[in-house]
Symmetry: C2
Subunit: 236 residues, 2 copies
Amino acid sequence: MKYELYYWPGLQGRGEFARLVMEDAGADYVDVAREKGGMPKLMAALERGLDGVIPFAPPFLRAGKVVVAQTANITRFLGERLGLAPAGEHDRFLASTIALTIADLVTEVHDTHHPITPEKAYESQKAAAKKRAKAFRDERIPKFTEWLENLLKKNGKVLAGRRISYADLSAFQVISGLDYAFPHAMARRKRNLKRLYALRDRVAERPRLAAYLASTRRVPFNETGIFRHYPELDSR
Amino acid sequence: MKYELYYWPGLQGRGEFARLVMEDAGADYVDVAREKGGMPKLMAALERGLDGVIPFAPPFLRAGKVVVAQTANITRFLGERLGLAPAGEHDRFLASTIALTIADLVTEVHDTHHPITPEKAYESQKAAAKKRAKAFRDERIPKFTEWLENLLKKNGKVLAGRRISYADLSAFQVISGLDYAFPHAMARRKRNLKRLYALRDRVAERPRLAAYLASTRRVPFNETGIFRHYPELDSR
């Protein structure tokens, strides 16, 4: 099975959560819009649909006859197919709950630089962004990250089940992104998040992921993605 | 199987999406925090967890040994168990994608009155709310609702598969909520959304749902929920 990932080129964004699962599993996939002549394919899928499904927004994935959109839906689908999901109904739903909660956190990260509308540039909404980013740093980062830390405290070395799953890969990505976007705010949280940072490091050291992270396939974090480092939105 | 729904009493909120699936299916469920002595049970679950899972936020559902959180995760779980989900992998993922996209829309509705932080009252963020609500009315309501309308145009009378599913019940709820919160803005959109409003009406007429909607179990929309009618956030 060759998977086709449809996502904007030039940024990690939400597509990265899907890439990490496929890279860690060694899956055969094509990152459609990053191929030569790929952008028109992405635009055509957004305008006319894929197999009768017009996704609301990238990322979306084609796997044979199935088209899946929504980040946490894609990572669950891939994780369950590729051996990166827990066994057992309880833990399968726990992994899915975690991935969806991380997706909510990602939306809140996005809204720190787009608090008024996603349809206009950051520069047009800087005043509100400053306020939203402060509330995010002070109230929401602690709430989300300590929730993940507590899950690890209860469950052990991974968030759900007994082995690394797509939920852990998603946690790696969100912590890496928060470190990039809010280095000062995260430096102050770090000592309360020992288990979460240890998990992040264990994920980064997995051989296939380490190779991926060192490759040119991993787009560096930048200010067109979800995780943007605007010094005025962080705090010393 | 007796389902236990954990959600705040006194508002529809995100819990309503789960209630609609159980009501339409005639499932046996208890709305924990609305029972006598139920609030302490909800608070204990939020503090100490349920079966080893501490949910990030309500709603969450206990179904025997499984605990499921996240609205679209709960409705999918219930829909697939209770005969309110499409058959076939393609349509199952389409329904899930739709429910998750509606959950994103619901988050954007919430942020019209809480654009800076969910942790503080609307009254503390009214100026930003006015701006966010305008962008939401002008750009986001059309984008989301026309996406749903187009899905109906492609698929027929229901959003996914051949029969009413949890995705359609979720569409009913979000359109009802938008009508309550933004009556003027929605009145202007309505003629572009004929299929979607027809679906909403067909859902409302389903015998079990019609009985539910007329009962005291259906909490009226109000200004403590997600869909709030603040005239200053709508437009004539």
